[in-house]
Amino acid sequence: MKKLNGRLIAAFSTLAAAALVAGSCNFMMPTPNYPVMRQEKGFHLLRIGSMDKVWFRGDLRIRAAVLDGASSRDAVYGNLGAYFVVEAKDAGFDGFLHLDETGLRLVNRNGLEYEAMSMAQGPDPGFWARLASTDEIVRIIDDGSGNAAQSSVVANLGSTMAGTVSALWMDWDQPPGSTPPDTYRAAFVDNADLAFRSDIVPVAGSALADFTALLARDAMADSFEELTAAGDPYWNDGRFEFRRFGFSSTAGYSWFAIRRFDGVSGREETRAAAILDAQPGVTRTVRGEPEGNAGGVLVIRQDSEPPGIRYALTDGQLQPSRTITVYGDDVRYLGDAIEPIDGVPTPVAVFGSVSVGPESKDDGRRVTISLWAHRLDSFAGGE
């Protein structure tokens, strides 16, 4: 009996040792699945936030993202926040992701029918967005309980609209330390053309446009190079789609992201259009999708695929000064902010990079978002 027990113990020990050795070996190839990818020289990591057990299929893409208005201007280290609207197949959530000093969390839409593409950085906590139902620009915040809340109505521009409005945006731009004449600008697209309204503070029902960019829409429509009615007919109705709008108060220009999309073939062409305040009759366009401006620099996402997203930095005349590459499963330019760099409050441009971990049957996937800052003074062709 003792001999039998000894054999059993020896066999069990051998099995256990073999299991231990096998269990401590690496059988998986070390796929470079980085939660936070290293960025080019000049970038400073501001924040990382991760969230586990996120359920969706396929790739996760950032549809729109902005910086938190208040924290982007207070120059307090470590409190910068950002909001991300992401999209994926069969996503098990509806809302936005909020990254701040407490981490990354999901904030439910809570019935607020804001348009993601109209998200803009305001001066206060939260972000601006347009409510589709009322044409109001409202400030939306994370109420701290996992739900989005409407904090205030920033402007009701519906009453200022002339004719049938097909699109509406409002942006705020106040570079740190500057005292520009305009801190916000609203844009209207009606059946006639583009119109803008600028003022120090938004006032609902105030007088219509400072100027109208005559023939701007025709110029934009004629600028498309691939999806054209003549050369490469596409199937969609209409001329093109306005996706985003913004303006630079320091450089004095407005910019648009315009897009044509062939719903049958799935092809699309996105261009950046800019209109200088000093030349309202001239519309310039280049290929790429503008995601925002950093001071006077327009940040245009070029045709590129993750993980290396390439941006062109241009002036208001869309003349490129340099290109940079930001790495991630998806990347978005978020806006400018004041953040301490090497202990000194510094105007920076902030990018958000999202990374998705491997899929697990039981635990969903891990989503990590990191915020990266780049000095604004190096954006104009310096460093």
Binding site: L45, R57, P307, G308
Partner: protein, 425 residues
């Protein structure tokens, strides 16, 4: 290869033992002729078969003719079914068998009497009935007789008789003559022969190494020539001598092959160069997730793929611990690697393991003279290039099994096991 050269085909006694001991009793300086007998290998008995004369006289003419014919069939039966061989003269036979027949009612009484000439052996008698004297009627008699004779008179050692002439130098001196044969090894000059009992010999510039060895023995030795595959040889030393001509196959200078790594079968092309053939190699390979036979195991959606691939450029070497001609060989490998990340808009040094030190242990099996297969366990000490502010232990998801060292500057990966093939050039 062993063969018997014509020049050494001189007559030698084929003795069971190759020691011939001669007692010399003559006077000094006289030639002594002596007869020496020795036992050789087993030899069959020679048998002579004849009809018994008394039986022939008692039979009629026809019956006598039938009996004589039957005697011939008995001889054929013995030749076919026994170890006896027929002698055609009674004087040359060691065994005489006489066949008799007596008429009885309804048949014949067949009888056989075997008389051996060797002292101490008993005669054998056998009798049986047969309906007639024809070979078919007497078949059972013949077969049983053959079986009994084969058992009773098996082959015996042959006696060899030699006439040895020698000069007697001293009276009453015992001279022992060992009959030997020469082994000639034909090999390239410089070949080193490791002989039994730890002795070593070298083939000189004549290309022939010779040694006198005992006849009818096997001789084992190992032959080595620098830069060539060593050989273990076994040669049979025939009475006429033996020649073993060695042909060496050069050891591989270059080897190429493929490793198959990880659970998703990453094919890794490899090239190795042997500065010390058969022992030490240096080489390199490229491991990349681009070459994974199973591209991705962690994402199963239709439009989700690996965004970032890695390209591991590996340089290193290895040391084999056993001889190249051993079927199983063991070795150690050591190498450096640099890793690049590659993807859309991305080609740069990787964040994980941009430089790494690899250490492995390998076991190899020679499948053919040129092809070998091996398995290797390989661990790695990897440098980590984490972005500032990122915990190095979480730079990848998932991290390989292992442990961070030096505050996360490097990471010690626990081993991974893989298999591979190598083909020599």
């Amino acid at each position: 290869m062993s063969r018997r050269p014509a020049c050494r085909n001189r007559a030698r006694p084929a003795a069971l033992a190759c020691y011939l001991t001669v007692l010399c009793l003559g006077a000094a300086a006289q030639d002594r002729v002596s007869r020496v007998q020795s036992l050789d290998e087993l030899a069959p008995r020679r048998v002579y078969v004849a009809a018994d004369g008394a039986a022939l006289a008692a039979l009629s003419r026809e019956e006598a003719s039938a009996l004589e014919a039957l005697v011939h069939f008995v001889g054929l039966e013995l030749e076919a079914r026994t170890r006896l061989v027929l002698a055609f003269e009674e004087g040359a036979a060691e065994l005489v068998v006489r066949i008799g027949a007596a008429s009885q009612r309804g048949g014949y009484e067949l009888s056989a009497l075997a008389l051996p000439r060797r002292e101490g052996e008993a005669p054998l008698r056998y009798a049986a009935r047969a309906p007639a004297l024809g070979p078919d009627d007497a078949r059972s008699f013949m077969r049983e007789l053959a079986a009994r004779l084969d058992r009773a008179y098996p082959p015996v050692p042959a006696m060899v008789t030699e006439i040895v002439t020698e000069r007697v130098v001293e009276e009453r001196k015992i001279v022992t003559i060992i009959e030997g044969a020469a082994l000639s090894v034909i090999a390239p000059p410089g070949t080193v022969l490791s002989l039994p009992d730890g002795e070593e010999a070298a083939v000189d510039e004549t290309g022939v190494w010779e040694r006198e060895l005992e006849q009818n023995t096997s001789y084992a030795y190992r032959a080595r020539l620098a830069g060539h595959l060593a050989q273990n040889r076994v040669v049979f030393i025939a009475p006429g001598g033996a020649v073993d001509e060695l042909r060496f196959r050069p050891l591989d200078r270059w080897r190429f092959g493929l490793d198959l790594r990880y659970i998703n079968f990453v094919a890794v092309p490899q090239l190795e160069w042997y500065p010390v053939p058969g022992r030490l190699f240096v080489g390199g390979g490229v491991e990349s997730s681009f070459l994974a036979l199973v591209q991705s195991y962690d994402k199963n959606d239709d439009d989700a793929g690996v965004l970032v691939h890695y390209v591991d450029v590996q340089l290193g070497g290895g040391l084999w611990l056993r001889e190249a001609d051993d079927a199983w060989n063991y070795g150690l490998t050591l190498g450096l690697a640099t890793r690049l990340d590659a993807g859309a808009g991305l080609f740069r040094l990787a964040d994980y393991a941009p430089a790494s030190l690899r250490l492995g242990a390998r076991i190899s099996r020679q499948l053919t003279p040129r092809l070998s297969a091996f398995a290797e366990g390989n661990g790695r000490l990897a440098l980590i290039l984490a972005p500032e502010g990122v915990d190095p232990t979480e730079i990848m998801n998932p991290m390989p099994f292992g442990m961070p060292l030096l505050d996360g500057l490097v990471y010690l990966e626990l081993p991974t096991f893989f298999i591979g093939l190598r083909y020599g050039l």
